[in-house]
């Protein structure tokens, strides 16, 4: 590292790394220089002129956002000249602004309001007619009110540079310049809402959130998105047990401020009209609403009877439910129901990867690695659509650190635009020489690499002679946690071999079991007929599987419970309950109640998330993560095994749904927003 530069800002001696911009050097030392167009991580604009400061020996005011620090530089940010410049810059900004704060969604968290409050003039001298244009709807989720726009170009940049989509631009010139969408009057894009989030004023507003509340009336709960396996933190704005918006403006979590459409808007399935609010019991061939007591009793009785009759149980768990729920479920199955027929839908070959890496340290990449490491090999997946956060990280890495990206995929992908090499097909081995020349590498592979392919891939990686890390891409918010927790016939929690034969997912679906218990999964979704003598389903909706059940127990969604989940990169994060939905209960609670009704609760221990997590910490390697990290909303990476996993590899069971941006398995069908955007029709 080069020596720090010494300079003076507002009379204080300050040290900053060479190349630091004056605005950042000031900020690092607690001196605020106001700015609209400057945005960390995006290209410089120097358009808003709010950050003008005095720099000794330069006659004119300078933009703090473009001038790098220099040895001996003397900067003043609070002189009368600077104050005047700021004051009148705000006067200029407000000349054509409609000043409709009372009915603006942004009111209360608007940077223009805040700046005017702090630096502005009390009244405007502008008495001319304002430029006015009517509000436009760019898409179901993006509305644009041009008169409120201050043209800071943040939205244009985040869409181009951050997302790689380039869906927004600027048209016209001068005072009638305006932000415009890519398809005439509407947007066709990722619909991620990053533009809305980054807008400092109320020019871009969200179709899902607008006119619902004032921001200060909401409670903000940071939890983990329940859709894909990337594990973004989404901060839910809730009021009266309703979720009104999702965002991550505090940049906590592995995703910083990033969210895709699913994380930002996809929470809305929670109040879908078809959401189950009471247990259902099959009476005379028809499902009827009953009380929780009746339903639980019916399940417990039947389970006990099946046990007594020596019948066989099958248990299908979920890749959406929490680690605690999965752990409790497998324990329930194995210790109470005395069955090893337990599985979940596997979406990536994590088991083979961990086995192949046996004995090695530091081999799993984190989300942060994707922004920091120097080279990447993307195999199979269309990352931008299937793993939006991972793709975002790599793109940011490329922009900021010129990372090298190698792509080997069946079709064209967004990464092609900035990759060093893009190949169609599977022949990554031809990249050997290029990869060997890199100083380090992260390999990401999807479900088209499984079993021996994964072993070969690891062999290849380890033969390059450079540090290599891996990510086995999986589909859902807790796909990784489900294997870690042993929701598989051959594996106990922490990848210990169960040593007993057990049926897999498909086998259970097709077998004549005494009882089949499905928690948060939809095995009959493709029109299969149930075979089990008794079928219990825990779910939020009357899915194809639930429709054939004897008892349906309404489950809480991820946003309605506490617990932990583990993302594709093995990082454990905490779910925090945002709201309560009438009638539904968290799966853990439902399982606990069933155990209690069966008289088996004591064997399983308490069914609160914290208590179960304690058991996980004791039983699953790598999960002894520091609790303060989790409690404060951080992410802790696990390496849940480090030794051979002596079980038969079953690549045939691995199958990804390859959900794009607008799909999320069965759950996605219940999100209004995901179905409302035209792209979900275009891309399906």
């Amino acid at each position: 590292m080069a020596d720090p530069v010494k300079l003076t800002i507002d009379g204080r001696e300050i040290h900053a790394a060479p190349g630091t911009l004056v605005i950042d050097a000031a900020k690092q030392n607690g001196i605020e220089v106001p700015a609209f167009c400057y945005y960390e991580g995006l290209t410089l604009q120097a358009a808003c002129r709010m950050c003008l400061v005095e720099i000794e020996k330069t006659p004119k005011l300078q933009t703090a956002c473009t001038v790098p620090v220099a040895e001996g530089m003397v900067v003043r940010t609070e002189t009368p000249q600077v104050a005047t410049a700021r004051k009148y810059m705000l006067e200029f900004l407000l000349t054509n602004h409609p000043l409709d704060c009372p009915v603006c969604d942004k009111g209360g968290e608007c940077e223009l309001q805040d700046m005017t409050f702090r630096y502005g003039v009390g009244e405007s001298r502008f008495t001319e007619e304002k430029v006015h244009t009517p509000e436009k709807q760019f898409s179901p989720v993006v509305f644009f009110d041009a008169p409120r726009c201050i043209l800071c170009y943040r939205c244009v940049r985040v869409c181009d540079e951050g997302l790689g989509v380039k869906a927004l631009g600027v048209i016209n010139r001068g005072v009638v310049s305006e932000i415009a969408p890519n398809h005439g009057d509407h947007l066709e894009c990722d619909e991620c809402g990053a533009c809305i989030d980054i807008c400092p004023v109320g020019a871009l507003t969200s179709g899902a959130y607008r006119y619902q509340t004032r921001p200060w009336e909401m409670t903000h709960v940071g939890t983990i998105c329940t859709h894909c396996a990337d594990g973004c933190k989404t901060t839910l704005g809730t009021r009266n047990d309703r979720i009104l918006r999702g965002n991550n403006r505090d940049r906590s979590g592995v995703n910083g401020e990033f969210l895709c459409i699913k994380g930002r808007y996809g929470f809305d399935f929670y109040d879908h009209p078809e959401r189950l609010q009471a247990p259902l019991l099959r009476v005379n061939g028809k499902l009827e609403e009953v009380s929780w007591a009746q339903a639980l009793n019916a399940v417990a009785q039947k389970f006990n009877q099946t046990l007594a009759d020596g019948g066989t149980f099958g248990v299908i768990g979920s890749n959406h439910t929490s680690n605690e729920e999965n752990f409790y479920l497998q324990k329930f199955a194995r210790e109470v129901l005395r069955t090893n027929h337990i599985d979940h839908h596997r979406t990536g070959d994590v088991v083979t990867l961990l086995d192949a890496l046996s004995g090695k340290e530091g081999k799993l990449a984190t989300v942060a690695d994707l922004y920091e490491r120097k080279a990447f090999l993307v195999l199979g997946a269309d990352l931008a659509l299937e793993h939006p956060l991972l793709s975002y990280q790599i793109r940011a890495n490329y922009r900021h650190h010129q990372a090298h990206i190698y792509v080997v995929t069946p079709g064209a992908v967004r990464e092609d635009h900035y990759s060093t090499v893009s190949l169609r097909g599977r022949d990554y081995a031809s990249l050997r020489d290029k990869l060997k020349a890199e100083s380090e590498l992260v390999v990401l592979f999807d479900d088209s690499y499984k079993g021996d392919d994964v072993r070969k891939l690891v062999e290849f990686g380890e033969s390059l002679g450079i540090p290599v890390k891996y990510i086995a891409l999986v589909d859902y918010s807790n796909s990784r946690g489900a294997v870690d927790m042993g929701v598989a016939p051959e594996l106990l929690p922490g990848y210990k071999p169960s040593g007993q034969p057990g049926m897999h997912y498909g086998e259970m679906r097709d077998a004549n079991l005494g009882a089949l218990w499905v928690v948060g999964a939809n095995p009959l979704k493709n029109g299969a007929q149930r075979k089990a003598g008794f079928l219990v389903v825990q779910d939020m909706f009357l899915t194809e599987t639930a429709q054939q059940a004897d008892v349906v127990l309404p489950a809480a969604s991820a946003y309605e419970k506490n617990g932990t989940v583990t993302n594709a990169t093995g990082e454990v994060q905490r779910l925090k309950r945002g709201i309560n939905t009438m009638g539904a209960k968290p799966d853990l609670e439902i399982m606990g109640f069933i155990a209690r009704e069966m008289g088996a609760a004591a064997a399983l221990g308490p069914w609160t998330p914290d208590a179960v997590f304690e058991q996980i910490r004791k039983n699953v390697r790598g999960y002894q993560v520091p609790l303060p990290v989790l409690m404060t909303g951080g992410a802790a990476q696990t390496m849940p095994v480090n030794g051979r996993i002596p079980v038969e590899s079953r690549p045939d069971l691995v199958h990804s749904d390859h959900n794009g941006l607008f799909a999320s398995g069965t759950l996605g069908r219940y999100s209004k927003v995901l179905n409302s955007v035209m792209e979900s029709r275009l891309r399906r």
Partner: protein, 161 residues
């Protein structure tokens, strides 16, 4: 869209005029020469130009809406541009413009119903020493009096018939 052979040749020459990978540079000339032939910048032309230089239609729109000589609406066969900027103003360029409005019965950036004439009040066109000046399409006319303008327009009208 199919271009005339001349325009096709022009586009191809333009694409060769810039360093490799910089074909976007041809955008503005292509739009202007295209407009000259087609009468305005049509959706088809935007698509065509975008395709040839490898940018999106939005990127073309951003650029074309910036430049005041590029029009999305068709202008007349004779586009009359009257300068009223300072040097022309001092020679009654503003009155000349008003005269043209009355004579043609149209206003700023409007076209006559028969599509023959359109009018635009323009900024300085680089004819300041020979003010007041107008341009009919790309042809300059200097020291223009209202009477001369009348004669010019009448002449063009006859041409049109």
């Amino acid at each position: 869209m199919t271009l005339s052979p001349q325009l096709e040749a022009k586009f191809n020459k333009l694409l060769e005029s810039y360093p490799p990978g910089r074909q976007r540079s041809a955008m503005i000339p292509m739009l202007l020469y295209g407009q000259d032939e087609i009468g305005s910048v049509t959706d088809d032309l935007i698509e065509e130009v975008a395709g040839r230089i490898g940018v999106t239609a939005l990127q073309v729109n951003e650029v074309l809406s910036y430049y005041s000589m590029l029009h999305r609406k068709p202008m007349g066969k004779y586009h009359i541009q009257v300068c009223t900027n300072i040097s022309c103003l001092l020679h009654d360029g503003d009155k000349l413009y008003e005269h043209a409005c009355k004579k043609l019965g149209i206003g700023h950036k409007e076209a006559t119903a028969d599509g023959q004439f359109s009018l635009e009040e323009v900024e300085c066109m680089g004819a300041c020493s020979w003010a007041p000046a107008i341009q009919v399409n790309y042809d300059f006319h200097h020291f223009v009096t209202p009477e001369q303008l009348d004669r010019l327009l009448d002449g063009l009208k006859k041409n049109a018939v």
